[in-house]
Each structure stands twice: as structure tokens, then as C-alpha cells.
Symmetry: C2
Subunit: 376 residues, 2 copies
């Protein structure tokens, strides 16, 4: 295992790439989907089960962890990996996105953001420097620069002010991060839906220099069509030899479209959150297990799926435990969803490696149009 952070693209197919990110804590096969472990747990899953679905890396949330149990406490206890029993790579966000969502509870200045905790109302501050400090205390392998996620929609002047602030914060993040061998710092491109601003942001980030580059300010309500429009040009503005991370994406068809457009990493709460509300992602679309039509159905969710929910249980059972609000319903559906997402990523990686991504994608859409679908 390498002691350095490194990214090798091993094959391309159109704009899509497959490769390996190497870190001292293990390899990340790309394109990669990162399950979200907000409060030091991927909800309703043991970490060994998350790993069994094929996940190479988890995402942790700086905002939640800094409030509870606090980054200082996690550091005293040996870091986030040991704390949550996950010894593979962890990427942490900067806290910015969640803090910005605290409408009415936060105040933004050039220095950073002050805000009130959603847990106990206590006052806190996040700056680029403090975000770097927290992510270091957590022991994060991939640290995200502190930025403002530009809301959608924003007019050009607003988007520009926000992007320029994020670029100043990106520089402060880079300086505060310092030199930490084996740990990576990613910059985040902003610029909303404005191509010139995206270019300007990319140029500034390149100039500062990062180990990887995220595309921020998407998956915030603009819709898939608009997101894909931005992804037609935004990834190519970023260095080809570094990972490109699309934050907060997404539904399976978002993921497929993003990979086609050159994205290497993604994260989303969707598979775990949907698992807790009874929505299962399958090759044929979304199954809402709460629907009464499943109550006598002896078939598994997907007879070709090898996850424990599909191997061992009927739709009737999953329907029953969902209706009865049993914890096992969340456990099994989350497992299934994470398994499905990771299987999709493996399918994409294989297709790119073998130069048959177009066929894979057309197959993906055809199966979902075929039947047994309940739209999400």
C-alpha cells in the first residue's frame, strides 16, 4: 500500500474514466460512490456490512461531528476511523454546506460563518482555518476546502460574489491545511450555471493547487437537465490527472449521467435515507415496499440481487416489517440500496474498462423503462 495520495486513470471511454485513488488507508476504485456516515455511522448499517456492499470510502460530516461528539473528543479517542470502526479511507466535507442550510441561524462574513447548533442552540463558528483544524482532528483522508455552496437559482452577480468568496476561502484552506503527507485536500469549483464563472473558478483552483477537485453548487434543486448541462463543460475545466468529485449526487440515473460526463467520485444520502422510508432501488426502478401490492408477494425485491435482503426475504416480509416500523426494515432496505449503488458503480467501472459504456448505459435505461417500476 502506498504512503502517498495518488490517482491513476486506467481506462477511458468517451469522457468517462475509470481508475484507482491510492491512499495509505487503501484504494478507492473510481468511479466511486461514497455512502454517507453523517454522525459517525452509516445509518442502520454496521461498517463491515457497508464494506461488504463494495464501498471503498465513506463520507463524514464535519458539521454534525463538530457539534456531537466534537472533533476534539474524537481526536482524543484516536480519530474518526477508530471511533466508528472503519479503517478505510474517509472523506469529510468542510461543514460549509450544512451550515449554509441553517437559514436564520447563521451569519456569513468574509472571515467565515457563525451559527447556532440545531442540537442545543449553542453558538459556533466555522472558518477555512477552523474547518481544516476539525478535519485534521477527525483524521480525514480527503479533506474538503471550506466554501459557500452557491444557492440555486442565483443571478450572475450573486453567483460571482459567492464564487469569489469561495476562491478566497479555498486559498485560506490550502494555507491552513499545510503539508500532510498521505492526506489530500480537494478544492471546490463554484460558479453556478455560468460557464465563464465555472472557468474562472477552475483556473483559480488550479493556480492554488489541490490533490483533487470537486464540482460544487450542483444537486441543489436545479434539476437533472440543468445539472447535466453544467457537466457538459465543467469537468473538462479541471485537471485531467486529478479526481473529480461531484458533491451530493445522486439518483442512479444522475450517477450514470455524471460518470458519462467524466465524474470520478460522488456521495449521497439517498440509498440510506430511502432505505429508512421503504424505497428500494432496483435494476427496474424504484420499488416502494410500503405499497399494499407487496403484502402477499413471495418474490424478493430483485431475484438477481445477492444482498441479504434479496437472498433471504420476500417482498411480503419487507412490506410487513416496514409497516410494523421494525428496525430490521431500515437495516435490510439500506443494505439493499447500498448494494445496488455499489453494483451499479462496478458495472460502470467494468463497462468503461472494456470500452462498452454506451451499451451499458442504454441497457440501464431500457431495463428501467421495462416494467415493475414505481417512479420515485
Amino acid at each position: 500500500m502506498t504512503k502517498k495520495f495518488n490517482f491513476d486513470v486506467t481506462a477511458t471511454d468517451g469522457r468517462a474514466r475509470t481508475g484507482v485513488i491510492s491512499t495509505p488507508r487503501g484504494e478507492i476504485r473510481t468511479p466511486a460512490f461514497m455512502p454517507v456516515g453523517t454522525a459517525a455511522t452509516v445509518k442502520a448499517m454496521l461498517p463491515e456490512s457497508v464494506r461488504a456492499t463494495g464501498a471503498d470510502i465513506l463520507l463524514g460530516n464535519t458539521y454534525h461531528l463538530m457539534l456531537r461528539p466534537t472533533a476534539e473528543r474524537i481526536a482524543r479517542l484516536g480519530g474518526l476511523h477508530r471511533f466508528m470502526n472503519w479503517d478505510r479511507p474517509i472523506l469529510t466535507d468542510s461543514g460549509g454546506f450544512q451550515v449554509m442550510s441553517l437559514a436564520g441561524l447563521r451569519k456569513l462574513t468574509e472571515e467565515g460563518v457563525t451559527f447556532k447548533s440545531h442540537i442545543d442552540g449553542s453558538r459556533h463558528a466555522l472558518t477555512p482555518e477552523r474547518s481544516m483544524e476539525i478535519q485534521a482532528l477527525l483524521g480525514s483522508d480527503i479533506v474538503m476546502a471550506f466554501d459557500e455552496c452557491t444557492p440555486f437559482p442565483s443571478d450572475e452577480a450573486t453567483a460571482r460574489r459567492s464564487m469569489e468568496l469561495s476562491m478566497r476561502w479555498a486559498r485560506r484552506s490550502r494555507e491552513a491545511f499545510g503539508d500532510r503527507p498521505g492526506h489530500a485536500l480537494f478544492g471546490i469549483q463554484q460558479g453556478s450555471v455560468y460557464r465563464d464563472q465555472r472557468q474562472e473558478s477552475a483556473d483559480k483552483l488550479r493556480e492554488i493547487g489541490f490533490d483533487g477537485y470537486a464540482i460544487g453548487g450542483l444537486a441543489v434543486g436545479e434539476g437533472q437537465a440543468t445539472m447535466f448541462e453544467v457537466l457538459e463543460y465543467a469537468p473538462a475545466m479541471l485537471p485531467e490527472d486529478r479526481p473529480r468529485y461531484l458533491m451530493g449526487v445522486g439518483k442512479p440515473d444522475d450517477i450514470v449521467g455524471a460518470v458519462e460526463r467524466g465524474i470520478d467520485m460522488m456521495d449521497c444520502v439517498l440509498p440510506s435515507r430511502s432505505g429508512r422510508t421503504g424505497q428500494a432501488f432496483t435494476r427496474f426502478g424504484v420499488v416502494n415496499i410500503r405499497n399494499a401490492r407487496h403484502q402477499d408477494d413471495p418474490r424478493p425485491l430483485d431475484e438477481h440481487c445477492t444482498c441479504p435482503a434479496c437472498r433471504n426475504y420476500s417482498r411480503a416480509y419487507l412490506h410487513h416489517v416496514n409497516r410494523a416500523q421494525e428496525i430490521i426494515a431500515s437495516m435490510l432496505l439500506t443494505w439493499h440500496n447500498l448494494h445496488y449503488f455499489q453494483e451499479l458503480m462496478q458495472g460502470l467501472r467494468d463497462a468503461i474498462a472494456e470500452g462498452r459504456l454506451a451499451a451499458f448505459v442504454s441497457d440501464f435505461h431500457a431495463r428501467r423503462a421495462e416494467g415493475d417500476i414505481e417512479p420515485i
Copy 2:
């Protein structure tokens, strides 16, 4: 594997016994503790994890299952074992106990009990015949006779009326059960705290003839001292060559005291319910993980315990996920508690087999008195 239901006592130590109940679905080592899988799931556990703790048999609740998803539906889906993915023995209660607890919502006659569902208010009836039918539809391996759990306290006349009704229902249960090779029917002794009534009840049950015998009407608020008083004489009134099952017990010291007095089987929701509220049972007593004194504690719950919660997590982590109301808190603490209970049973079985139960019991009490205890 035998095709018959059979019980062999392999060793005794004082009044305590150890042995094996053989069923077509596998062996049950006694004394046995049965985790409760009320609604076709042991809450917060996958069945393979329940098995991994050492459980040989689960208990299912007729009342809950008849209402949702219904016994008929479970039968259509291949029975409770297939439905919930547990292929080992299942004991089902008769539904009587839970129905009797529906104060104000149920009506008792010689025929049986009518009641309103706690889920949707719909009207239902349970009789000895219907209880036998439901338990057969579920595919239960050990079926319990339908009885009235005599409330505590009850005066002698009330207890007698209740016991005599239960004995008439026991006969009707026996007749309705019929001849089902490989499946067992257990009678239930009543008589409250009145020795002559316990004897009369035992005599009537023997006369009817059952595959095993339960001691009912205990663990209903009478307290440990009173329960142990009854257990001084009640087990010996029942046939020596059949399993004796103490229903709804209990805390670890209840279990130890019951085994000392000749009990072979027990069940209780305590380890799983306590797991969901943050109480952990250990060799040193109960740990309330919610207590702030655990928030920086890097030690496991019990450093000698081999369950996943103790092998992989600190008290600080368990405290954090409990406070954050994360599902993994229920998963890990339930696993730990079930592991502890099964380890206790294995300790009791080994001690009886080796004729050193008294030393085991005195050790059990000494360790709990020793420290690191928070009383439950």
C-alpha cells in the same frame, strides 16, 4: 436430527438440570434463554446475528402476528420460519397473555376472549381452538396452550376461578392441537402464589398430558422473592422428564435463581428492549450507556466480552450513537445483551454438567457486587 420432539436431561446439580430438547428443526440446549421475536423479528437484529449469540430457539407472539401480517398470510408465504428467515425451532405463545393485558378492550367468557386490535381497533376473538389453529398456521414448533394469566395479586377464590378456567382451556387446547408429530404442545400451570392450587393445576395438566410444562402467572409484578418462593415447590410438581418453562423471565439474577430451582426454559424481552434504551447487561451489572461519564471512555463495555459491540467499539462511541439516536446504538447494544444472556446460559449449562453450580452462582453474585455497577 430426530423427527420427534424429545427431551433428555443429561446432568443435574441439586434441583438444576441441563439437557437437550430435540426437534426436527434442531436441538435446544437447556437451560435455554429464548429471545423474543414479537412481530417476526428480534428487534434491531438480523436472525443470523441472533443465532451467532448462541440462541437455539426464538419466541414469536401469536397476538401480534395474528393481527399483522395475519397467520393466514404467513401460512400462505410458507410459515413463520421461512417468513422471518429463521430455520431453527420457534416457540409461540398462545396470545392469551397479551390479550388479557388489553384492559378495557377485551371481554372474557368461558368460550374465550374477544378484543379490539391495538393497531386499527378491529374486533377479534381468541379461543383455545383458534389459538391452536393460528399457532399451526404459523408453523410453530412448540405451541403453548391457551390460558388466562392470573393477575397478581389475586385472592384465593379469584385465583382458583382463573386456574380452573385455564385447566378447562388446557383440555380444549390439547383436543384442538390433535396429533402433530414433530410439534410439541406445552400446558401452563397456574394457581398464583397458592401452593395447593399449583398442585391441583399440575395434576390436571399431567392428567391431560403435554410435551412440556410451563409455569405461568409469575413475573407479573410479584417481585423476585415471591417468585422464588413459588419456584421452591412448583417445578417439582411437574413431570421430571419434560421441559419446564418459566414464562417471561427475566433479569440475569432471576434467570440464575430459576435455573437453580429446576427451570429449563425462559424468555424475556429485557435484553432487546434494554438494548434500545441504552442499558447494557454485563458481568458486573447494568451499564447505562446514556450516562455522561461514558462520553470520553475508550474502554469497551466489557473487555472480556467477544460480541461485536465490545470487540469494535468504545463506551464513548456507544454513548455517542445512543445520544444521537442512531439505529446502530440499538443494533450494537441489543447484540451485546443477547450475547451476554446466551453466555450466561452456557455458563449455567457447563456448571451444572460439571457439578459446580453453587460456585458458579456465588461467583455470579460476587462479580456483580464488586463494582462498575449501575443498578437497573
